[in-house]
């Protein structure tokens, strides 16, 4: 290129006095000309200090952890930024976890199109998945921010409940979406009430024992109960029939009352130290 920015032109561009097409030519030219770009470097201390200050800001931001997709989603739903971070760091809200959950419910619901047995597998697995999601939302074993949240002046119970709600909202939605593809209409909804019952029992147990442990206890007990029924050539309707659904409602209500009712003691969720 034969044309270059003259030092005079650069100076008047720098102070904002160059106008019209000439300013536009300077701008277009420095895009491609390294030499002329150096003419636009500031020499006065004020401008240098300003650049240094902006650079500090850049370094600061680069050092900060990136806002995850989930966190952005929560902030979009008007959750305050600090709570969004607390929520999003729940292990069961990590993308890897959601992918795992989706592949289990998606996989079994897809397989159920091939064989009816998988419809049963889906309905049996679904409530357990909710328990596992909730149990993994908080606790020393899975939560990478556990130490951090423990030392944060923030009510543990409130954090647990917040995370439970967030986790359940996501995992119930994913499961429901997969359930909608089931051909058996009863099976498509039969898992929901047992899920709520198991989750509320888990939360209730967490008042006395560690949440992760509570989740495991509930899952094992549930599996034990279901497996014995499975051996009797069961169908979805025979295992998750009307009485079981009613019992699930009762369990959920009782646990809910104990946890949140007027007489609910303000017990902290027990933490393992």
């Amino acid at each position: 290129m034969s044309w270059h920015v003259s030092p005079e032109m650069a100076t008047s561009y720098r102070v904002g006095e160059l106008a019209g097409a000439r300013a536009a030519s300077v701008e277009a030219h420095v895009m491609a000309c390294e030499l002329c770009r150096t003419l636009l470097r500031p020499s006065d201390t004020v401008a240098l200090e300003r650049l240094a200050m902006i650079w500090d800001g850049v370094e600061d931001q680069v050092d900060q952890p990136r806002i995850t997709f989930i966190e952005r989603l929560l902030i979009f739903c008007r959750v305050p930024a600090d709570e969004a971070r607390l929520l999003a760091s729940a292990p069961s809200l990590q993308l890897s976890w959601l992918v795992a959950l989706l592949s289990v419910v998606g996989g079994t619901s897809l397989l159920s199109q091939q064989a009816d047995r998988f419809t049963l597998v889906f309905v049996v697995l679904a409530p357990m998945l909710q328990v596992v999601s909730v149990a993994a939302a908080y606790g020393p074993h899975l939560d990478p921010t556990y130490e951090l949240t423990r030392s944060t002046p923030y009510p543990t119970t409130r954090l647990l409940m917040l995370r439970t709600v967030a986790v359940l909202a996501v995992s119930l939605l994913l499961t429901a979406a997969a359930a909608l593809t089931l051909t058996d209409e009863w099976a498509a909804v039969a898992w929901l009430l047992p899920s709520l019952a198991l989750v509320s029992v888990t939360l209730l147990l967490a008042k006395w024992i560690d949440l992760n442990l509570a989740g495991s206890v509930v899952c094992v007990a549930y599996l034990f109960a279901v497996t014995s029924a499975l051996f009797n050539d069961a169908t979805v309707r025979s295992i998750f029939g009307g009485p079981v659904q009613l019992a699930a409602i009762a369990v959920t209500l009782v646990c809910g009352l104990v946890l949140f009712g007027p007489n609910a003691e303000r017990a902290q969720i027990r933490r393992r130290s």
């Binding site: 106008a19 240094a52 902006i54 650079w55 800001g57 680069v62």
Partner: protein, 180 residues
């Protein structure tokens, strides 16, 4: 920073190094490109606070999206593309005047020598551009010179997309007429 540095790497090599997490490369790129970016953005927005913020956001974005640089075209142009789009976003959050560089101070006292030089370089394009009405010039600047899409220009100027298109058409017609 500010002083001419001795890093021999080319701009695109530096961007490649960003992908590997080379913080020194980011500092070098900042030293090379932040000065002109700051100046050019200052000519688009008079609020120094917003400009500072946009420059900062731009280099954070450069660091994070270095992978997206396809190695084609000037790194400077890539950085400008990020910067002006951040500017569009920033001005949308806090609506303010987008200053068209071609509006305002017409060059009254061009020396004869400069007239000739510019004439050789651009034909009468420079004069034709300066004779456009402020609204038309703003649209030409946003789309042609700043490289924004019609939608982005509309956001920046606070006018509907259709208006951007029709003004662009009028500007093109006028320029063609004057240069013919």
């Amino acid at each position: 920073m500010g002083t001419v540095s001795a890093d021999p790497r080319s701009d695109s090599a530096l961007v490649d190094a960003l992908v590997e997490g080379d913080r020194q490369a980011l500092a070098e790129l900042y030293g090379r490109h932040a000065p002109w970016l700051l100046l050019r953005l200052t000519r688009r927005c008079a609020d120094a606070g917003i400009v500072d913020e946009v420059v900062q956001d731009t280099f954070v974005a450069v660091w994070r999206s270095a992978k997206k640089y396809n190695g084609q075209g000037e790194v400077a142009a890539w950085i400008w593309g990020i910067g002006i789009r951040r500017m569009v976003d920033a001005l949308r959050r806090r609506p303010r005047e987008y200053i068209s560089t071609t509006v305002g101070h017409p060059d009254v006292a061009l020396s004869a020598e400069e007239q000739v030089l510019l004439g050789v370089e651009y034909g009468d394009l420079a004069g034709a551009l300066d004779r456009l009405s402020p609204e038309l010039r703003a649209v030409v600047q946003a789309t042609v010179l700043d490289g924004l899409t019609t939608g982005e220009a509309a956001k920046l100027l606070g006018i509907p997309q259709g208006t951007v298109k029709s003004r662009m058409k009028r500007a093109r017609g006028q320029l063609r007429e004057e240069l013919a």
